[in-house]
Amino acid sequence: MLTITRELRDKIVAHARRDHPDEACGVLAGRAGGDRPERFIAMTNAERSPTFYRFDSGEQFRVWREMEDRDEEPVVIYHSHTATEAYPSRTDISYASEPGAHYVLVSTRDSGTAEFRSYRIVDGTVTEEPVAVVE
């Protein structure tokens, strides 16, 4: 289960819409061991592509170092699909490298709505989980 505030959820959706038709990506940091996303960090998609994303390596280093300094961890790693459903692709699964994170996918394929779904990806296995949006 992913528990997330409405504010953070809306920030992710807004980011995805803003970057459409490129894929948007980012992190929600939270206190280590707490499993609650607290801090929104939009990341640059170094690929700037409608079908692929990659965190800029220097930016990732700074963000990961900052989280360590603040005793945080990446609770959510999110990205958007711009023409397909909000479900992890084979690429998403093979590159998932934070076994403790919730992988959030947003689809902006339909301008009227934004699909927002969350998954655990561990050892190549995808498990969808419910999302609880709180105030």
């Binding site: 079908t51 692929f52 990659r54 280093f61 990961w64 690429t91 998403d92 590159y95």
Partner: protein, 94 residues
Amino acid sequence: MSIEVRIPTILRTYTDGAKQVEGTGSTLGELITDLDHKHGGLGDRLVDDGGLRRFVNVYLNDEDVRFLAGLDTPVKDGDTVTVLPAVAGGATVS
């Protein structure tokens, strides 16, 4: 001589759970060989036939070694090498 190497969560299975290990070498390539001797299998996760693996980021202090000299980057006592798997993916079918 010792170089501190920070290991990401996903590779800690090779280091008995340690998030930080030590190695020696005068280049990054030598350091990785040394780490592989101490933690068997770790080398394969960092390098392949083409050199440093494409979706693994390795930093010397705070610089991505791709912008330095890759595996030939000189390393010295007191340096910190950090490994972070790239965060990537997308709709593309691989």
